[in-house]
Amino acid sequence: MNLGAVLARARVRVVASWRETSWVVGETVFPFLTMAAFVLVYRGLNAPRIYEAFVVLGGAMTAYWNNVLWSMASQFFWEKEQGQLQLYLITPVSRMSILLGMALGGIAMTTTRAVAILLGGTLLFHVPLPADRMLPAFGLFVLTLAAVYALGMILSSVFLMWGRSAWHTVTLFQEPVYLLSGFYFPVRLLGAFVGGLAALLPITLGLDGIRQIFYGKEAHGFIPLAWIPPIEIALFAIFLFLAHRSLLLMENLGKREGRLTLRGG
């Protein structure tokens, strides 16, 4: 039954992402344009071509981070606003399976956008992505996504309790995280302290590692590449445990305080 719930929740997103033409265009062409603006910043500065590659990889990861924020972290809050959360709660399935379904569906939705950014970057800006390093990069990418979406699961229950401020908090987590996680420049530039704090977000180290796999020393890595996969696995395990705990905690708290549904009139 739980597996069915995972597949059902994921399916809604996969079907929805292809149902509307505007969605497909909005998810592929336009995000590419924003990323292209940052590529052109480097081009305008006559920076080495490798920096443009940083932006392209960062742009692809931005898509996943935004999906975690808008479609994982704030999703339960939205579902509460629309009266759908209570339906989840009365079904005899694990809440984690709903979250997992949202995550898998979200990854499927976002991959279209990320692939468009990568393809566009490679074809239009001739950004180098060495084919022989694709497999290890993909491996680290999968680990990173697992940890990032596990973090999204924690945020979804926390944001649910924050109520309307969750909406705005998402904004606080957007551009500042682009900055702190080094989406458009090597995170090493921020220094050990700030970079270390930013490394608590799995996307920071994941992106740093993927750049190191592709570009070696030119990537100006923050920590040695060999450390990154074990850290991502550890973060994934910790975040998943915390997500489970926080979901139970927030559900119980929400039931006691009557905050799982919107009050009428």
Binding site: W23, L40, V41, L45, A47, L179, L189
Partner: protein, 280 residues
């Protein structure tokens, strides 16, 4: 006229409550400043990372000004269409707005004023940050500020009309078309050379850039604050010509946007889309 003004004023207050009453003022200010300051610092580090090359302090100043004032474009364009989606699907109040004896345009104007206010907060914070923390040579003399306010008001006309056009599109499109609106803002960010000189663009894209009012608007603001022209293709153009083009394009945009909004509004009502719910 008085009725329209009352509606606009009430909508501004409502917009402010929606934007700001969820948090204490400190948190709200942090939220308002987060985006402009973060993007400023992203650009700062991007310039820093290649500072061994051709990047100079003046280069960053031009990027900084373009990026800072583009906040008006993103806030108002995206904000107005979000207003439609939020009112229609989250608060479910759009239908009541239509039931009330008022014009939607006055209501949207009020909601836009709130967005302009929050954008102004962010822009002012970024300018102060640039001047005081990053020590950028920005002129804040009374004449400069006066000219700046005039240029902002002139540019805001075009931004508002374009926002109105997108709000019209939002009336007939599903919620996830928000990606289109945000993406369109991204396209403007790219094409009007907010963060790089437009001569970096290929020829065909430069032609599109020169057809956008924001390109002239940002150039005008850069000239006011630094005293120097920036975009290569506009160097031969005087400030008066920039103002003329801006005014003309605002008029043109206004005519098209009003007609488009009226059509969208009619279509939404005819198809029963005013209380549509499209969240997945």
């Amino acid at each position: 006229m008085k009725r329209s003004w009352d509606v606009t004023r009430a909508a501004t207050w409502l917009g402010w409550q929606v934007e700001a009453n969820w948090a204490d003022p400190v948190l709200f200010l942090a939220y308002s400043f987060a985006k402009p300051l973060a993007t400023t610092l992203i650009l700062f580090f991007m310039v820093q990372v290649v500072s061994a090359g051709n990047a100079t302090r003046e280069t960053f100043l031009f990027l900084f000004i373009g990026n800072t004032f583009f906040l008006y474009v993103s806030e108002v364009l995206v904000g107005l269409s979000w207003t439609i989606f939020r009112d229609r699907e989250d608060f479910e109040t759009l239908k009541y707005v239509y039931l009330a004896p008022m014009r939607m345009l006055s209501y949207l104007a009020g909601r836009a004023i709130t967005k302009i206010a929050t954008a102004t907060l962010g822009t002012a914070a970024a300018l102060l940050f640039g001047s005081l923390v990053l020590r950028l040579p920005i002129s804040f003399s009374p004449e400069t500020l006066l000219a700046l306010i005039g240029a902002i008001l002139l540019g805001l006309g075009g931004i508002l009309f374009l926002g109105l056009g997108l709000a019209g599109a939002a009336l007939v499109m599903a919620r996830h078309s928000m990606n289109l609106n945000e993406g369109l803002t991204g396209a403007f960010y790219l094409l009007c050379g907010a963060v790089f000189p437009i001569e970096v663009l290929p020829q065909w894209a430069q032609r599109i850039s020169l057809a956008l009012p924001f390109t002239y608007w940002l150039e005008l603001i850069r000239r006011i604050l630094t005293g120097h022209p920036y975009a290569g293709p506009l160097r031969g153009m005087g400030d008066g010509a920039l103002i003329g083009i801006l005014a003309l394009s605002t008029l043109l945009l206004g005519t098209v946007a009003l007609a488009w909004f009226a059509w969208c509004e009619h279509t939404a009502r005819a198809r029963g889309l005013i209380d549509w719910k499209t969240n997945y």
